[in-house]
């Protein structure tokens, strides 16, 4: 168990360093490290501190948020198919973010962007919990997710198509597939508090989610306050996924793959799957973001494309195993 966490931590550190050192400019490693820690305003220092550092930090933060949210939603619904992207939380957060940007709120008041994304995410999580019921059956969960995703996606496209800005319409693909290109330390600072608060809220759910392994009745009789747990889950997922989506667009499948791959390695207890999935998600997004820069450095290949290539087969496999168990 400790070995799994140590391995994951080392992997994240390694990928974080790689993310800092890999880029289209092909800077020498020693110069890059030197510039990052000791530079004084020359071009390479600017590249390291203002371009690569925020990108690598956001990859960790966004990946951890998505992995953790996926694990928490799965723990609560006791269904390995629950994932913020698939059930429409990311899509609704993107709608909130797009509304904040296009209405000019985000320009007038920077916090409006993450707050609006959080609002969109809250709406989706509440709707999913209402539609899927206390124990989300796979079918209702996925159907409700499809409906919410489609609606949010359509509204996002509508808002962007109606924008007076000709670039807005071409950004539909960013909001649907996500990218970390050209983000800055301002973005890091803007979303970090939301992600930190959401992460604390979700990690605190470990005990309750463990108890929920035995069902709602057993968990309540073990002294778990289910109403409070549900509230913390909604706020935690909305804060982390909302903040992640506000700066990186919707990136699907991270919250599905990370818990799925790591569950058995950490003994399947939700309280252990939560932190493991956060680390796993961070590693996944870091790796994907390195890959998009290596595959097509000048094209801004979308992160979601790459992750879906890995994630969708996982999703199909999960559906197959669930069908066998039914």
């Amino acid at each position: 168990m400790i070995r799994v966490f140590a391995g994951l931590g080392a992997l994240v550190l390694l990928l974080f360093a790689a993310s800092l050192l890999i880029g289209p400019a092909g800077l020498p490693v020693s110069d890059s490290i030197d510039a990052l820690f000791r530079g004084e305003g020359e071009a390479i220092t600017l590249v390291m501190r203002e371009i690569r550092l925020p990108r690598a930090l956001l990859a960790v933060m966004v990946g951890a948020s998505l992995g953790l949210s996926g694990a928490a939603l799965q723990g609560y619904l006791r269904n390995p198919l629950a994932e913020p992207g698939l059930i429409g939380v990311s899509g609704s957060a993107a709608l909130g973010a797009v509304l904040a940007i296009q209405s000019g709120l985000a320009a007038a008041f920077a916090l409006a962007l993450p707050l609006a994304a959080l609002g969109g995410a809250v709406g989706a999580v509440v709707l999913i919990l209402l539609l899927a019921g206390p124990r989300g059956s796979a079918l209702t969960l996925i159907l409700a997710g499809i409906a919410i995703s489609a609606l949010a996606g359509a509204c996002t496209s509508l808002v962007l198509n109606l924008s007076p800005n000709p670039f807005a319409a071409s950004e539909i693909v960013f909001w649907l597939l996500g990218s970390l290109a050209d983000r800055s330390m301002q973005h890091v600072g803007l979303v970090a508090p939301f992600m930190a608060a959401g992460t604390i809220a979700l990690l605190s759910l470990g005990r309750g989610l463990d108890a929920l392994t035995l069902g709602e009745d057993a968990a309540a009789a073990l002294g778990i306050d289910l109403a409070r747990l549900r509230l913390m889950l909604i706020l935690g997922v909305a804060a982390t996924v909302g903040a992640a989506t506000a700066v990186a667009g919707s990136i699907g499948f991270v919250g599905l793959v990370a818990p799925h791959v790591l569950r058995r390695a950490v003994g399947a207890k939700p309280s252990r799957v939560l932190p493991a999935s956060a680390l796993g998600g961070a590693a996944m997004v870091l790796a994907a973001d390195i890959a998009v820069r290596l595959i097509a450095p000048e094209r801004d290949l979308k992160l979601g494309v790459l992750i879906a290539l890995v994630g969708a087969p996982f999703f199909l496999r999960l559906i197959l195993t669930q069908r066998r168990e039914m």
């Binding site: 006791r78 392994t213 035995l214 069902g215 057993a218 309540a220 002294g223 306050d225 399947a268």
Partner: protein, 244 residues
């Protein structure tokens, strides 16, 4: 010492009265069998007593804050839900949640008592239904609560494990615990319960020692059956014979 006191408990579901004025005590040292036909309100009674569903009247359990209540009463629901492939040992250790400790002694004792030591590292989801039932009972034992409420704990077990499970409940009672167990198998109930409470349409139809509760009149009225009931050197034997 009374471990559970219910006073005039009433519960409605969709405007239908499911419990209609239930009052009872459970004391330490008792194994109380809750019997009655399907729909009599056995599960509802236990869930209401635990505060899991809305009710009117009084349950002594509701005077405690949730965490203390969880140390006072262990609840084994009928649905044997195990959502994740966690190990048997980890599942049983969930019983320690209300105590907030990771004391291995009660967990080991519970595993031993339910004959699960060989399975302790196996993922609980990969066990047979009967093995899972024993694991879930072991979890309630690890909780070390004075009162145990179990909904149909022996349903689906093979005869040996049915008997073993009822003996565990008896041992608990002899060790100073109180047990309230709903059960359909009247033969097992008669042999292992110190007292039976017969529910009929949300009311208590009879409450007392098995011999006094399972009268031909009650069996006819509540269960619609006739039965053979005999005290033997091997203990009481109860066998339903026919429907009426």
């Amino acid at each position: 010492m009374s471990l559970l006191t219910l006073t005039d408990l009433k519960s409605f579901r969709r405007e239908r009265m499911v419990l209609n004025g239930i009052s009872l005590h459970i004391a330490a040292g008792e194994v109380v069998g809750l019997i009655g036909p399907n729909g009599a309100g056995k599960t509802t009674l236990m869930r209401a007593a635990l505060g899991l569903i809305p009710f009117s009247g009084n349950s002594s359990l509701m005077q405690m804050v949730p965490r203390l209540r969880a140390r006072h009463v262990a609840w084994l629901p009928q649905s044997r839900e195990i959502a994740w492939p966690i190990s048997v040992e980890a599942l049983v250790a969930l019983g320690r949640l209300p105590h907030g400790d990771t004391d291995p002694a009660p967990v080991t004792a519970a595993l031993h008592r339910m004959d699960l030591e060989a399975l302790r590292h196996r993922p609980a989801t990969e066990l047979s239904g009967g093995e899972q039932a024993r694991v879930l009972i072991a979890r309630t034992l690890a909780q070390q609560a004075p009162l145990l409420m179990a909904d149909e704990p022996v349903a689906g077990l093979d005869p040996a494990h049915q008997i073993a499970t009822m003996q565990v409940l008896g041992d608990l009672a002899r060790g100073g615990h109180g047990v309230l167990v709903s059960i359909h198998d009247l033969g097992l109930a008669v042999r292992h319960c110190t007292r039976l409470i017969a529910l009929d349409q949300g009311r208590i139809a009879a409450d007392g020692p098995p011999r006094e509760v399972l009268t031909p009149a009650l069996l006819h009225r509540v269960f619609g059956i006739t039965a053979h009931f005999e005290d033997t050197p091997q203990g009481p034997i109860f066998q339903p014979l026919s429907t009426v």
